[in-house]
Protein backbone atom coordinates (compact mmCIF):
# COMPACT_ATOMS: atom_id res chain seq x y z
CA UNK A 1 0.00 0.00 0.00
CA UNK A 2 1.33 3.43 -0.81
CA UNK A 3 1.01 6.54 1.30
CA UNK A 4 1.78 10.18 1.08
CA UNK A 5 4.54 10.90 3.61
CA UNK A 6 5.75 14.41 4.46
CA UNK A 7 9.29 14.85 5.85
CA UNK A 8 9.90 18.23 7.51
CA UNK A 9 13.51 18.97 8.41
CA UNK A 10 15.81 21.88 7.64
CA UNK A 11 18.69 19.44 7.15
CA UNK A 12 19.01 18.33 3.52
CA UNK A 13 21.11 15.26 4.47
CA UNK A 14 18.62 14.23 7.17
CA UNK A 15 15.70 14.39 4.72
CA UNK A 16 17.63 12.15 2.31
CA UNK A 17 18.50 9.65 5.07
CA UNK A 18 14.87 9.41 6.26
CA UNK A 19 13.70 9.03 2.65
CA UNK A 20 16.14 6.14 2.12
CA UNK A 21 15.07 4.46 5.36
CA UNK A 22 11.41 4.69 4.31
CA UNK A 23 12.22 3.19 0.91
CA UNK A 24 14.19 0.34 2.49
CA UNK A 25 11.35 -0.24 4.98
CA UNK A 26 8.83 -0.90 2.22
CA UNK A 27 7.44 2.58 1.63
CA UNK A 28 9.22 2.91 -1.73
CA UNK A 29 5.99 3.19 -3.68
CA UNK A 30 4.75 5.98 -1.42
CA UNK A 31 4.82 9.62 -2.43
CA UNK A 32 7.42 11.35 -0.29
CA UNK A 33 7.08 15.11 0.10
CA UNK A 34 9.71 17.36 1.68
CA UNK A 35 9.69 20.70 3.45
CA UNK A 36 12.56 22.58 5.12
CA UNK A 37 10.49 24.08 7.96
CA UNK A 38 7.00 24.16 9.44
CA UNK A 39 5.83 27.09 7.34
CA UNK A 40 6.86 25.38 4.08
CA UNK A 41 5.08 22.25 5.27
CA UNK A 42 1.87 24.17 6.06
CA UNK A 43 1.91 25.68 2.55
CA UNK A 44 2.59 22.29 0.98
CA UNK A 45 -0.26 20.66 2.90
CA UNK A 46 -2.74 23.17 1.48
CA UNK A 47 -2.37 21.53 -1.93
CA UNK A 48 -1.35 17.95 -1.10
CA UNK A 49 -3.00 15.15 0.83
CA UNK A 50 -0.66 13.76 3.49
CA UNK A 51 -1.13 10.48 5.42
CA UNK A 52 1.66 10.98 7.95
CA UNK A 53 4.16 13.70 8.87
CA UNK A 54 7.69 13.14 10.17
CA UNK A 55 9.00 16.41 11.54
CA UNK A 56 12.07 17.82 13.21
CA UNK A 57 11.58 20.42 15.95
CA UNK A 58 14.59 22.72 15.78
CA UNK A 59 14.00 24.55 12.46
CA UNK A 60 14.05 28.18 11.32
CA UNK A 61 10.89 30.16 10.40
CA UNK A 62 8.45 27.73 12.09
CA UNK A 63 9.68 25.05 14.48
CA UNK A 64 8.17 21.60 14.95
CA UNK A 65 6.08 22.49 18.01
CA UNK A 66 4.43 25.46 16.28
CA UNK A 67 3.89 23.31 13.18
CA UNK A 68 2.12 20.57 15.19
CA UNK A 69 -0.10 23.18 16.88
CA UNK A 70 -0.94 24.57 13.44
CA UNK A 71 -1.88 21.15 12.06
CA UNK A 72 -3.91 20.18 15.11
CA UNK A 73 -5.88 23.44 15.09
CA UNK A 74 -7.09 22.85 11.54
CA UNK A 75 -10.19 20.70 11.09
CA UNK A 76 -8.87 19.27 7.82
CA UNK A 77 -5.48 18.18 9.13
CA UNK A 78 -6.02 17.55 12.86
CA UNK A 79 -6.24 13.77 12.44
CA UNK A 80 -3.03 13.40 10.43
CA UNK A 81 -0.48 11.57 12.61
CA UNK A 82 2.68 13.55 13.31
CA UNK A 83 5.92 11.91 14.44
CA UNK A 84 8.62 14.14 15.91
CA UNK A 85 12.21 13.17 15.01
CA UNK A 86 14.42 15.47 17.01
CA UNK A 87 17.47 15.87 19.19
CA UNK A 88 15.24 17.35 21.93
CA UNK A 89 15.50 14.43 24.33
CA UNK A 90 14.38 16.16 27.53
CA UNK A 91 11.41 14.29 29.08
CA UNK A 92 9.35 17.43 29.64
CA UNK A 93 9.92 18.52 26.04
CA UNK A 94 8.83 15.11 24.73
CA UNK A 95 5.70 15.32 26.95
CA UNK A 96 5.01 18.75 25.48
CA UNK A 97 5.16 17.29 21.94
CA UNK A 98 2.79 14.47 22.91
CA UNK A 99 0.42 16.89 24.70
CA UNK A 100 0.28 18.94 21.49
CA UNK A 101 -0.93 15.86 19.65
CA UNK A 102 2.22 14.14 18.33
CA UNK A 103 1.66 10.46 17.59
CA UNK A 104 5.23 9.48 18.43
CA UNK A 105 8.73 10.64 19.13
CA UNK A 106 12.10 9.41 17.87
CA UNK A 107 15.31 10.81 19.33
CA UNK A 108 18.27 11.63 17.09
CA UNK A 109 20.58 9.78 16.71
CA UNK A 110 18.16 7.03 15.69
CA UNK A 111 18.27 3.60 14.14
CA UNK A 112 16.51 2.73 10.88
CA UNK A 113 14.46 0.20 12.86
CA UNK A 114 13.09 2.92 15.15
CA UNK A 115 11.58 4.76 12.19
CA UNK A 116 10.30 1.59 10.52
CA UNK A 117 8.71 0.30 13.74
CA UNK A 118 6.92 3.56 14.48
CA UNK A 119 5.67 3.85 10.88
CA UNK A 120 4.30 0.29 11.09
CA UNK A 121 2.68 1.00 14.47
CA UNK A 122 0.91 4.08 13.14
CA UNK A 123 0.05 3.10 9.56
CA UNK A 124 -0.61 -0.46 10.57
CA UNK A 125 -0.73 -2.64 7.51
CA UNK A 126 2.74 -2.75 5.99
CA UNK A 127 3.98 -6.33 6.01
CA UNK A 128 7.69 -5.74 5.67
CA UNK A 129 8.44 -9.48 5.31
CA UNK A 130 6.73 -9.24 1.92
CA UNK A 131 7.37 -5.67 0.90
CA UNK A 132 10.95 -5.20 2.04
CA UNK A 133 12.90 -3.66 -0.79
CA UNK A 134 16.50 -4.81 -0.59
CA UNK A 135 17.69 -2.63 -3.45
CA UNK A 136 19.18 -0.28 -0.89
CA UNK A 137 21.57 -2.30 1.22
CA UNK A 138 22.90 0.70 3.13
CA UNK A 139 20.34 0.19 5.84
CA UNK A 140 20.22 -3.30 7.34
CA UNK A 141 17.25 -4.14 9.52
Amino acid sequence: MSYSILIVDDSLPMRLVIKKILTAAGYGSSEILEAANGQEAVELMKNNWVDIVLTDHNMPVMNGMAFIKNIKSDELSKDIPVVVISTEGNASKIKEFMDCGAAGYIAKPFSAEAIRDLMVNILGDVNYEETFDDSNKDFDF
Binding site: L12, L16, N58, P60, T87, E88, G89, K108, P109
Partner: protein
Protein backbone atom coordinates in the same frame (compact mmCIF):
# COMPACT_ATOMS: atom_id res chain seq x y z
CA UNK B 1 29.20 22.36 35.15
CA UNK B 2 31.40 22.80 32.08
CA UNK B 3 33.34 19.64 32.93
CA UNK B 4 30.10 17.68 33.43
CA UNK B 5 28.69 18.91 30.12
CA UNK B 6 31.94 18.15 28.29
CA UNK B 7 31.77 14.56 29.57
CA UNK B 8 28.21 14.30 28.21
CA UNK B 9 29.37 15.82 24.89
CA UNK B 10 32.12 13.20 24.55
CA UNK B 11 29.62 10.40 25.18
CA UNK B 12 27.25 11.92 22.62
CA UNK B 13 30.01 12.30 20.02
CA UNK B 14 30.79 8.58 20.37
CA UNK B 15 27.09 7.65 20.08
CA UNK B 16 26.40 9.90 17.09
CA UNK B 17 29.59 8.98 15.21
CA UNK B 18 28.98 5.26 15.64
CA UNK B 19 25.19 5.22 15.13
CA UNK B 20 24.84 7.68 12.24
CA UNK B 21 28.27 7.85 10.61
CA UNK B 22 29.64 4.35 11.32
CA UNK B 23 32.97 5.73 12.54
CA UNK B 24 34.37 4.78 15.95
CA UNK B 25 36.20 7.59 17.75
CA UNK B 26 38.79 8.09 20.45
CA UNK B 27 39.48 11.25 22.38
CA UNK B 28 42.96 12.69 22.22
CA UNK B 29 44.62 15.31 24.35
CA UNK B 30 43.38 18.90 24.44
CA UNK B 31 45.25 21.10 22.00
CA UNK B 32 45.12 24.18 19.81
CA UNK B 33 44.48 23.64 16.10
CA UNK B 34 48.18 24.26 15.38
CA UNK B 35 49.30 21.76 18.01
CA UNK B 36 47.11 19.00 16.59
CA UNK B 37 48.14 19.75 13.02
CA UNK B 38 44.75 20.79 11.66
CA UNK B 39 44.98 22.85 8.49
CA UNK B 40 42.35 25.61 8.69
CA UNK B 41 42.26 25.95 4.89
CA UNK B 42 40.78 22.48 4.42
CA UNK B 43 38.62 22.60 7.50
CA UNK B 44 34.89 23.27 7.78
CA UNK B 45 33.41 24.64 10.98
CA UNK B 46 29.95 24.98 12.50
CA UNK B 47 28.65 26.41 15.76
CA UNK B 48 25.42 25.96 17.68
CA UNK B 49 24.15 28.13 20.55
CA UNK B 50 22.01 26.78 23.38
CA UNK B 51 20.12 28.35 26.29
CA UNK B 52 18.63 26.85 29.44
CA UNK B 53 19.86 26.37 33.00
CA UNK B 54 23.13 27.50 31.53
CA UNK B 55 23.92 28.89 28.09
CA UNK B 56 26.78 28.69 25.65
CA UNK B 57 27.76 27.37 22.27
CA UNK B 58 29.41 24.32 20.84
CA UNK B 59 31.89 24.67 17.97
CA UNK B 60 32.92 21.75 15.77
CA UNK B 61 35.71 21.76 13.20
CA UNK B 62 36.48 18.89 10.84
CA UNK B 63 38.61 18.48 7.73
CA UNK B 64 36.75 18.44 4.43
CA UNK B 65 37.84 14.84 3.67
CA UNK B 66 36.45 13.53 6.95
CA UNK B 67 33.17 15.38 6.40
CA UNK B 68 32.94 13.85 2.91
CA UNK B 69 33.47 10.37 4.42
CA UNK B 70 30.85 11.06 7.10
CA UNK B 71 28.41 12.31 4.45
CA UNK B 72 28.96 9.17 2.35
CA UNK B 73 28.38 6.92 5.34
CA UNK B 74 25.38 8.92 6.58
CA UNK B 75 23.50 9.09 3.30
CA UNK B 76 24.80 5.97 1.58
CA UNK B 77 25.82 8.02 -1.46
CA UNK B 78 29.26 8.30 -3.08
CA UNK B 79 30.79 11.74 -2.58
CA UNK B 80 30.73 12.47 -6.32
CA UNK B 81 26.90 12.59 -6.05
CA UNK B 82 26.94 15.03 -3.14
CA UNK B 83 27.08 18.81 -3.41
CA UNK B 84 28.60 21.28 -0.95
CA UNK B 85 25.18 21.71 0.70
CA UNK B 86 25.22 18.04 1.70
CA UNK B 87 28.69 18.37 3.25
CA UNK B 88 27.89 21.49 5.28
CA UNK B 89 24.50 19.96 6.17
CA UNK B 90 26.22 16.84 7.46
CA UNK B 91 28.53 18.82 9.75
CA UNK B 92 25.62 20.94 10.99
CA UNK B 93 23.45 17.89 11.65
CA UNK B 94 26.31 16.16 13.48
CA UNK B 95 26.65 19.22 15.73
CA UNK B 96 22.88 19.41 16.23
CA UNK B 97 22.63 15.74 17.25
CA UNK B 98 25.65 15.92 19.57
CA UNK B 99 24.49 19.10 21.30
CA UNK B 100 20.86 18.01 21.71
CA UNK B 101 21.85 14.53 22.86
CA UNK B 102 24.42 15.83 25.36
CA UNK B 103 22.09 18.44 26.85
CA UNK B 104 19.36 15.84 27.30
CA UNK B 105 21.80 13.87 29.50
CA UNK B 106 22.09 16.76 31.96
CA UNK B 107 19.60 17.17 34.79
CA UNK B 108 18.16 20.57 33.93
CA UNK B 109 15.32 22.49 35.57
CA UNK B 110 14.43 24.31 32.35
CA UNK B 111 14.40 22.41 29.02
CA UNK B 112 17.26 23.61 26.83
CA UNK B 113 16.52 25.48 23.62
CA UNK B 114 18.88 24.89 20.74
CA UNK B 115 19.61 27.48 18.10
CA UNK B 116 20.11 26.68 14.42
CA UNK B 117 23.62 25.41 13.51
CA UNK B 118 25.59 28.10 11.68
CA UNK B 119 28.52 27.44 9.37
CA UNK B 120 31.48 29.64 10.31
CA UNK B 121 34.84 30.29 8.70
CA UNK B 122 37.50 28.14 10.38
CA UNK B 123 40.04 30.92 9.94
CA UNK B 124 37.97 33.07 12.35
CA UNK B 125 38.69 30.65 15.20
CA UNK B 126 41.33 32.04 17.54
CA UNK B 127 44.80 30.44 17.40
CA UNK B 128 44.79 30.27 21.20
CA UNK B 129 41.56 28.29 21.68
CA UNK B 130 42.15 24.88 23.23
CA UNK B 131 39.97 22.16 21.67
CA UNK B 132 39.08 18.62 22.65
CA UNK B 133 40.48 16.48 19.85
CA UNK B 134 38.37 13.64 18.46
CA UNK B 135 40.26 11.00 16.46
CA UNK B 136 38.78 8.62 13.89
CA UNK B 137 40.68 6.04 11.81
CA UNK B 138 42.92 8.47 9.95
CA UNK B 139 41.52 11.91 10.65
CA UNK B 140 40.70 14.13 13.57
CA UNK B 141 38.18 16.81 14.39
CA UNK B 142 38.11 19.42 17.11
CA UNK B 143 35.31 20.43 19.47
CA UNK B 144 35.09 23.48 21.71
CA UNK B 145 32.50 24.26 24.39
CA UNK B 146 32.16 27.94 25.25
CA UNK B 147 29.94 28.89 28.18
CA UNK B 148 28.39 32.37 28.39
Amino acid sequence: MKKLLMTAIKTSISEVMETMFFLPVEFGREATLDQCGMDKKNTMASQLAFTGDFSGRLILLAPRNLIAEMAENFMGEPRRNLTEDYFSGTLAEMLNMVCGNALSKTKSQIPFELGIPQMINASEVSENEVFTIVETFDAKMAVLLKMD
